[in-house]
Symmetry: C2
Subunit: 210 residues, 2 copies
């Protein structure tokens, strides 16, 4: 998990392509996005993309991977904090939601990647690299899962079914990728307030106390 600063901030041609691809995958979906469009949005041609990535599916997979890497980096500082499960969960959830808002194109790709895997819309060759990414994403989800289980055991949370609750919680926390739009003149405080509302709603769903 030791990604260099360069890899996280994408200061490279490789990274420029990832960012442009993420944007278009978000806007048009995977299938409807052509590599010509991605290249054109960079003021380049397909040759540039194929110089860095062997195929469209690998390009998408790298967008997926980068999105997940940023998520891990975002919640890492809060994972091992002392304090109640509720407090740990709140910090992690808040960081997660802020990620959904600030790196939306990449998070959209993560979502689409999971969807494509669930629908089996992958060729056998893609499966290998995809399985690893799905596992990557699953491990991330389990970080939250164990916290809410811990919280329930300590009586801080109250819910019936762990799987269903976890699904619903992530739906809420992820939802900004679908409906969030940056407003003109929006400040960081605005975004944080929005994220707080989302976290509060998800916390209620867990049966937690505010």
């Amino acid at each position: 998990m030791s990604l260099s600063e360069r890899e996280l901030t994408l200061e490279s041609s490789h990274g420029d392509i990832l960012a442009a691809a993420a944007e278009l995958f978000m806007d048009r979906g995977y299938a409807a996005t052509s590599l010509d469009e991605v290249a054109r949005s960079l003021g380049a041609t397909k040759g540039r993309i194929y110089h860095h990535f062997p195929s469209k599916s690998v390009l998408f997979a790298e967008v997926f991977r980068h999105g997940m890497a940023m998520n891990y980096a975002a919640i890492e500082p809060h994972r091992h904090l002392a304090g109640s499960p509720t407090m740990r969960w709140r910090r992690m959830a808040f960081a997660h939601v802020m990620q959904m808002i600030t790196t939306k194109p990449f998070q959209m790709a993560v979502w689409m990647g999971v969807e494509m895997h669930l629908r089996g819309a992958t060729t056998p060759e893609q499966r290998t690299v995809f399985n690893e990414l799905i596992q990557y994403r699953k491990d991330y989800g389990d970080l939250f899962r164990s916290v809410i289980i811990d919280g329930r055991e300590k009586g801080e949370f109250d819910f019936e079914d762990v799987s269903v609750t976890n699904q619903l919680m992530f739906m809420t926390l992820n939802s900004p990728i679908f409906w969030y739009r940056p407003k003109t003149g929006e400040t960081k405080a605005n975004r944080e307030d929005l994220a707080r509302k989302v976290v509060v709603c998800a916390l209620r769903g867990l049966g937690g106390k505010e």
Copy 2:
């Protein structure tokens, strides 16, 4: 809103195509679904589809429309019930979630249609028919919106932002279209229990009392 029984149950060739198309749109997404595949899943050819629908986008729009029509029909019995907003909301929400589960392919198409519209992934000609459908969907959403506003005024619900809360509520209520899979030997009671859990979680998000 007076749809014939035939239109709601799809006992026609027209309806068979709608159902098959909905299934494939769900499995592969709009862009990745070819009309040849839809036809093949029916044991037919493209000629049959183009005899009933003028284009792929119109076929998709009709799937969308049919999904929404079923939703309206499902919550109609509960809309004007006497009783508390909480009770009215619970009935409507439960009916809605059951719709998500039982008519998943169509509801997935509705979701995709809204997404496509938000992303502007529509041609100018599609816009006309699409705008009407989006309005159709918006009106449906407003039925819930007015109930939760009513509930808040009567002190039964407790939340800050109406728009954000409505978004998050629908995310929760709609989420089964993404993660629900029918189990073998599953009964109607199983599905209803699942729907109940989803409704409870959404109700908590509204700050309502169980």
